[in-house]
């Protein structure tokens, strides 16, 4: 029973265009949402996060949008760069819980020059 779903295993975009990565979750008790980026042979690197009290958080080229009613979040990368090519994981934490993260399966983003 997947609590966090990233339904697109891969995404390919052209350099300079927007990349949109999507994530759906099932439990309305989740209240903090994170995106991690992972290069091969490296551990995941924290990218950006959003609390359930917000619907948007922006950091440079990266913006995360949260739609609580739809239990959906997305990561927008604008403009996309070849160095953004990596696997992106969506992660969530539960309200008042032990602060452990639940991860999606990841989306492999390829940005073509």
């Amino acid at each position: 029973d997947q609590q966090v779903k990233q339904n697109s295993p891969s995404l390919s975009v052209q350099e300079g265009r927007i990349s949109i990565l999507n994530c759906d979750y099932t439990n309305s008790m989740f209240d903090y949402f994170l995106w991690y980026k992972k290069y091969p042979a490296e551990g995941p690197t924290f990218l950006i996060s959003i609390s359930s009290i917000k619907d948007k958080n922006e950091d440079g080229r990266f913006t995360v949008f949260l739609n609580k009613s739809a239990k959906h979040l997305s990561l927008h990368i604008v403009p996309s760069q070849p160095g953004d090519s990596a696997v992106y994981f969506c992660a969530v934490t539960s309200q008042g819980g032990s602060e452990k993260l639940v991860f999606g399966k990841g989306t492999k983003l390829t940005v073509n020059p």
């Binding site: 551990g43 924290f46 994981f89 934490t93 602060e99 993260l101 991860f103 399966k105």
Partner: protein, 112 residues
């Protein structure tokens, strides 16, 4: 944010043997976790490493198979015991607090 050094980065082990993976954090962190990432899968939480007490294991993971130590707030080990080829995976440690988790670089384990 904290920096985590994890070792070994990779190993090839014989079935039936055990491997201990170490994680050292450059600062004290509240929480430390151990994850497994099997090919094509997401990161699956094995357990929460509790400082000075027994780890808290997730469903499907047991202490006899994955003993964990956390003697202080900057160090933890995970042992994969009596290994079988099904244990071949990437193992990752993570540390930090709710608003910032850092990961080690991972240990790629192959059991032959």
């Amino acid at each position: 944010s904290a920096v985590i050094s994890q070792k070994p980065s990779r190993d090839i082990c014989q079935r039936g043997t055990s491997l201990t993976i170490q994680c050292q954090v450059d600062s004290q962190v509240t929480m430390m976790f151990w994850y497994r990432q099997q090919p094509g899968q997401s990161l699956t939480l094995i357990a929460t490493a509790n400082q000075g007490s027994e780890a808290t294991y997730e469903s499907g993971f047991v202490i006899d198979k994955f003993p964990i130590s956390r003697p202080n707030l900057t160090f933890s080990t995970l042992t994969v015991s009596n290994m079988s080829p099904e244990d071949s995976s990437i193992y990752l440690c993570s540390g930090g607090g709710r608003y910032g988790y850092t990961f080690g670089s991972g240990t790629r384990l192959t059991v032959v």
